[in-house]
Symmetry: C2
Subunit: 405 residues, 2 copies
């Protein structure tokens, strides 16, 4: 692998060795993998996606034994209710909650663990309060790689158990501030040559490319016009786009999708910068949003996204807490129970359509990033149709429902 | 559809019309769908499993718009740790937690909703405290069919919300006893011509057949020797077997898998009957097991299973609470975080192997039926490796882990 590829910083094009232990360039820019000979890449035969798209990946092969069966998730056309809500004719839901740990993170974790194996690293670490920690813990368990997850000390027991049950070493760090804790952990880890995988690491991004290859197959080689992605650390959105970019470099496709950057209004370091025409992320701190999976307040990868929005004509939108809650409910009423972060895209798409930025006939994909079971706490904001009924009153209650319809 | 098939009671072969609103025969026996012309059934081309196996199904087609993307779940060979634990060379995990509502129920719900559509029923109902209610609620939401879920009044709010968020009518029934409540609901529903779908209904079983067709493809037309299924209402285990039985009737395969009936020792109405050589279920009441998804104490479908164990040489085993907790932990330490009910199979397989009832080289599939996120309450029985660390002690803590390895 390592002689095939190098790392390139995404804005200034500076080159770094693939073995680099830090996931960002010296100036803080996101790094990405540059794959040799991509222009001649071909789609091959094979049982697994990573076999068919091996020419596009930094791995010559992936050892089947480290896989938990990630990917192969459903792409479903939205029902009439959702289409009406966003005023579109062609909205599709890509259900990444069908991954092994029920979030999109698993595709990235497969890549991270494959890399750790190739580099002969016996331990890998991450800083996380949720989906990322659970995913890395599960893949570490499967592959026999030791996992350390650093969590802030206020992390709920339920989330800690979802990592801990896999055998991960969970370190609850007592620190006055999350970002201070992060900084400290990163600097110690660098000194100790311990790789801390983040949501925006260059290898993780290679895992997320799989989404674009899968969509390419599911759409029968057609490219959707827009793909909406709830954005926090930025790895997911740039991974999906990178896959399409590389398919275009080979000439297999001729156009690119426009990505839609979605954030919660209460924590919109990237979207607010874009809306204000800034080149750099506007850091958020001390914010609250129920979209607990997209709470990076000052994402290091944000500047690249802002750059790409300008370069490629991407869209960006933020949504209020009320809009998130309504979106979660509407998705559930069409069959999809997702965590609040996943729901953000629905209202963002609606607002962009209303503003005339998306054409009614455009094909739009929204990524369902994590299961609603991940965060039962936020269900307190949702209403349900629940009645308490005495045994002898059942008949009357049923009658009411049957007649009302 | 309806002229193609009829319902047959599974022990006495009595025939009922397909339109029957009750899911059991008059004498309480399980019913199954008899598909006309099964001997000439062929596997066809098609994008969806239901298209390729349409000759084996009671539906001439399934309207794509009612699907949530169920099925297509991973089949993964167990890692060395698990193989050593059960002393087998070929153990496979079929991960049904990758379904849209993260349990095996979704395949059955698709079939139930397809039937409701075909029968022009605008409402469907079920009695459930968990996976079944959530699954039917989600499929009802997708297809525009009204759903009523009857739950006992002690059902936790979290589980009620997982149904309620989809827009289902949740009726909390105040009744002194769950089985009395069930009986009353069933009798009222019959009178009102309201179909109550159960975990063992004949149409639901047709949905579970999809598992066998998918395994047939994933194993490249080979048949596994054993398939272990946590068993409660009995629909899942008989569905999987029925698919294989019908494949054999066509001559496409020549041998059948042996099913392994798995129950919690604390609620083992079927397994204890089998072990005691009885023909009928031994009802359990007032029991407690952490395997909350397999708590039918007196399953109406049980007698059929006991009959099939004898007829086909199936195996049966029960497991203690401690064995369930250990199995959940061991599966998680190999990457799979499943609910306790799913974990039962692992220890059951181990015990059957130890007793010499399964050969070391046999291929054994275990069904992972539901996500561990479904039941966070039971995590109190699990230990995790969690340390509280002050910021200034991180380096020492990491050192320990790096050196220990």
């Amino acid at each position: 692998m390592t002689n095939k590829i190098k790392l390139v910083s995404t804005i200034s094009d500076k080159i770094y060795p693939f073995e680099r232990i830090e996931e960002f360039a010296n100036n803080g820019e996101s790094l990405e993998v540059k794959i040799k000979g991509i222009k001649n890449a071909k789609i091959r035969d094979g049982k697994y996606l990573w076999q068919r798209f091996v020419d596009f990946l930094p791995f010559s092969t992936i050892d089947e034994s480290i896989s938990l069966g990630e990917g192969n998730t459903a792409l479903i056309k939205a029902d009439k209710k959702l289409l009406d809500f966003v005023d579109l004719n062609n909205l599709y839901l890509k259900n990444e909650t069908q991954n092994p740990t029920w979030s999109f993170k698993d595709r990235g974790s497969l890549a991270c663990i494959a890399m750790a194996k190739e580099m002969n690293e016996f331990v890998t670490a991450t800083i996380s309060t949720g989906n990322m920690g659970a995913s890395i813990a599960a893949y570490g368990a499967k592959s026999g790689i030791k996992v350390i997850v650093f969590v802030p000390d206020y992390t709920p027991k339920e989330k800690i158990m979802a990592m801990g049950i896999h055998g991960a070493n969970v370190m609850k760090i007592i620190a006055p501030d999350y970002s201070e804790m992060k900084k400290k952990v990163l600097s110690i880890a660098k000194k100790m040559n311990l790789r801390i995988v983040s949501g925006n690491g260059p290898i993780r991004v290679e895992g997320y490319k799989m989404v674009s290859f899968e969509l390419f197959e599911q759409f029968e080689r057609k490219v959707p016009d827009y793909i909406a992605v709830p954005t926090s650390a930025c790895g997911h959105i740039r991974g999906i786009f990178k896959g399409y970019r590389e398919l275009k470099e080979t000439g297999i496709i001729t156009n690119l999708p426009k990505m839609i950057v979605v954030q919660a209004h209460n924590n919109s370091p990237i979207v607010s910068a874009i809306k204000k025409g800034k080149k750099h992320v506007i850091p958020f701190s001390n914010f609250h949003t129920i979209a607990g999976a997209i709470t990076t307040g000052n994402p290091m990868g944000g500047d690249e996204i802002i750059d790409k929005v300008r370069k490629y004509g991407w869209l960006a939108e933020d949504v209020t807490e009320e809009e998130i809650i309504e979106s979660q409910k509407r998705l559930a009423e069409s069959g999809y129970f997702v965590e609040p972060a996943s729901a953000t895209s629905l209202f963002a798409i609606k607002k962009l359509r209303l503003a005339g930025k998306i054409e009614k006939d455009a094909s739009v994909v929204m990524m369902l990033t994590g299961s609603g079971l991940k965060d039962s706490e936020v269900l307190k904001y949702q209403k349900a149709n629940v009645q308490e009924i005495k045994l002898e009153k059942i008949e009357t209650a049923i009658s009411k429902i049957l007649n009302l319809s």
